[in-house]
């Protein structure tokens, strides 16, 4: 069914169709609507979910951990400060191997406080052991939310699906929705191995783990992360087979003969594709790589994609505050270190706090990348693109 939905509406609709057992959440701009719309479904009896309107994000995610430990299928939604307040418990959810799914709306982290998009919030939690899937548009937000449930439950790791704050969350687009009945059918019910509610087989969860066992447990969690990408591929294939839309882990756009390319995440992927088309119309061989899955980092897929270009402009909507530039940029440099093919890399940090990035901006970046190709060297490897007074 083709409808018009904002990113938040699309995620809320996905949640309605998933009909999770428990949703515990707390409002925060620009994710609030997800929870709002979902509350309405609850109050109108459209879902059977137990909704826990927590008194903070910290408690929301804590309740999710409790509910998931009890065997329930659990979701929540948040953004920015909310995710930051969950920080401690995010690690715990992953360590306990609970397949909780967060609909995250990317918004920059305070300070300065700001309500608009950048990726600093989810990236600041990138070590937490969560799968992270970034969406380019509302359709993807919707599809990925549904797929995330399956991915998380197979991987036994929690997952967050993100959209760009306001840009996608509040932007209405065409969305092709799956039938209401098809979603729960495709997902099945969660089949936990153990549950707190099984009083006849009492388990103890979250014991103190000292030097003699901690490393082994952590190793097992890392192993789970190492197994995620094939699971994502498998679920994405199943989804494609069933519902007709297939997603790659790393999205390549006109890369096959690209001389210069950009790498980006989120909604900028779409804007960049338009820029690619425009440049291609002028005969310029440009391409675009979009990182859909950031955790685990898709090393092989990414290497395959980015090594096609001679010059790669890495566009980061975040800064690591390390003086080394943005997140994607550094992970790319890292995976490319011992690669045979070694594109020239330049980092464009852009769009922090919701600063707009236009098609013309990206064309400008491509032009800059061609200059690099010509000169064969990168003069300034990290630039802050679009900041006043640079």
């Amino acid at each position: 069914m083709i409808v018009a939905r904002t990113g938040n509406e699309a995620m809320a609709e996905a949640m309605r169709q998933i009909n999770p057992d428990v949703v515990a959440a707390y409002p925060i701009t620009p994710a609030t609507e997800v929870v709002q719309l979902f509350s309405k479904f609850v109050h109108d009896g459209k879902v059977t979910t137990e909704f826990v309107p927590a008194e903070s994000e910290h408690s929301a995610i804590s309740a999710c951990v409790g509910a998931s430990s009890a065997g329930a299928r659990v979701m929540t939604s948040t953004a920015s400060q909310g995710l930051a307040l969950m920080h401690e418990i995010l690690f715990i959810a992953a360590g306990l191997r609970l397949p909780i799914v967060i609909c995250l709306v990317n918004r920059s982290l305070s300070s300065p406080i700001n309500i608009h998009c950048d990726h600093s919030d989810s990236l600041a939690s990138r070590d937490a052991g969560w799968i992270q899937i970034f969406s380019e548009n509302t359709q993807e937000a919707y599809d990925s939310t549904i797929m995330a449930i399956k991915i998380a439950e197979k991987a036994l790791l929690p997952a967050m699906v993100t959209t760009d704050g306001f840009i996608i969350s509040h932007g209405m687009e065409r969305v092709d929705m799956v039938d209401d009945a098809a979603v729960p059918k495709w997902l099945g019910t969660r089949q936990p191995k153990t549950s707190l509610l099984d009083v006849d087989n009492p388990i103890t969860l979250g014991a103190l783990d000292l030097q003699d066992f901690f490393f082994e447990h952590k190793r097992s969690e890392i192993d789970a992360m190492n197994r995620v990408l094939p699971i994502i591929d498998e679920v994405q294939n199943e989804f494609a087979e069933k519902f007709g839309r297939h997603y790659p882990i790393v999205d390549e756009y006109k890369m096959d003969d690209a001389e210069v390319a950009i790498l980006a995440m989120g909604s900028t992927g779409g804007t960049g594709k338009v820029a690619v088309d425009k440049m291609r119309e002028q005969g310029k061989k440009v391409g675009l790589v979009r990182c859909r899955v950031f955790r685990p980092f898709p090393k092989d897929q990414m290497l395959k994609a980015v090594t096609k270009a001679k010059v790669l402009g890495v566009m980061d909507r975040s800064d690591t505050m390390s003086t080394l530039g943005g997140h994607l940029y550094n992970e790319c440099r890292s995976i490319l270190y011992d690669s045979d093919t070694r594109p020239l890399l330049k980092n464009y940090i852009y769009g922090l706090g919701g600063r707009d990035i236009s098609i013309e901006d990206i064309e400008d970046i491509y032009t800059n990348l061609f200059d690099i190709q010509k000169s064969g060297k990168v003069d300034k490897d990290i630039v802050y693109y679009g900041v006043r007074g640079e």
């Binding site: 515990a24 509610l197 009083v199 103890t204 014991a207 066992f213």
Partner: protein
């Protein structure tokens, strides 16, 4: 009223082999609470002595389902467990009638976990929250909590040469919780096992969130010899330092009235944490504490008459 014989007839739900100090009241409290429960229970605990001593991988003293999440969030965690129970029960995926108990130390309850508890009650989750109150952060080595009484020495409110222990009065958490209008709230202590068991049963039967603040002496942090744990507990009631009472349906009831109200010094002098007060250059700290105890006791008497 429960009989010990009946209680002893059940299977133990909190087992030996845990690593608490010899004579630890927190573990006595946990054991009593579980044996009081007449329904199957699911338990959560916040980080703290009880959690640490009872669950060191690969050993667990809990013979009931148990979850530990973090220090500040046991109330939220159990809110989630209880919500999951309601959801899965609706779907027929859980059949039995279960009860939910959250355990937190005073640090995990009065301080860092207060908000989660407040939220749990406000949302009316059917969970019994038990604070085992040893009046300090014991697990990390006896630091002040807001439950620590004035004058007490802790490592962050030390008996110094300029300041004799903690200066602020203790937070009255039980009254704070009562102001939340839970379905049931009470103070208890391990020395009065019958009172405690009865309260746990009332709490579990109440139709909504309930709270019991269990005074649980800590021989390490309070600095007394281990065999005195029960005696110290009883003294807290006899001196009205820890009045035993309950609140339900808008009514206060004192459940154990000491025959003769002893001066708090009887209680204080048993414990090393107050030792310096008896050597301090004036008796202000003890007097202030006595006044606080008297004030709260008087008010309680008044409210329980209404």
């Amino acid at each position: 009223m429960a009989s010990l014989k009946q209680l002893a007839a059940q299977e133990e739900k909190f087992l030996g082999g845990h690593r608490a100090c010899a004579g630890c009241a927190a573990t006595i409290a946990a054991r009593m609470v579980l044996m009081a429960a007449e329904q199957p229970v699911v338990v959560g605990a916040s980080t703290g002595c009880l959690e640490v001593v009872s669950t060191i991988y690969p050993y667990s003293a809990w013979n009931v389902p148990y979850v530990h999440n973090a220090f500040e969030n046991v109330a939220a965690t159990m809110s989630g467990v209880e919500a999951a129970y309601r959801a899965l029960k609706k779907k027929g995926m859980v059949k039995k009638d279960l009860r939910f108990i959250a355990f937190g130390g005073d640090g995990g309850t009065y301080d860092i976990g207060l908000q989660a508890l407040s939220g749990m009650i406000e949302r009316r989750h059917h969970v019994l929250y038990v604070c085992y109150n040893n009046e300090a952060y014991m697990n990390t080595g006896i630091q002040r909590s807001s439950a620590t009484p004035r004058g007490a020495h802790t490592t962050t409110s030390p008996a110094g040469t300029k300041i004799p222990g903690k200066i602020e009065p203790r937070k009255n958490l039980t009254e704070i919780i009562i102001a939340h209008e839970p379905a049931y709230a009470a103070q208890a202590t391990i020395g009065y096992w019958n009172d405690l068991v009865t309260k746990v049963r009332k709490a579990l039967d109440a139709d909504g969130p309930s709270f019991i603040n269990i005074y649980a002496p800590c021989r390490l942090g309070w600095a007394y010899v281990p065999e005195k744990t029960v005696k110290v507990s009883k003294l807290s009631v006899e001196t009205c330092v820890w009045p035993l009472y309950e609140y339900q349906d808008g009514k206060y009831r004192i459940t154990v009235k000491p025959k003769e109200k002893k001066p708090i010094t009887e209680f204080l002098k048993q414990q090393g944490r107050f030792g310096h007060l008896f050597k301090w250059h004036d008796d202000v700290p003890i007097k202030e504490y006595q006044e606080e105890v008297d004030m709260i006791w008087e008010r309680l008497l008044k409210r329980s008459e209404q």
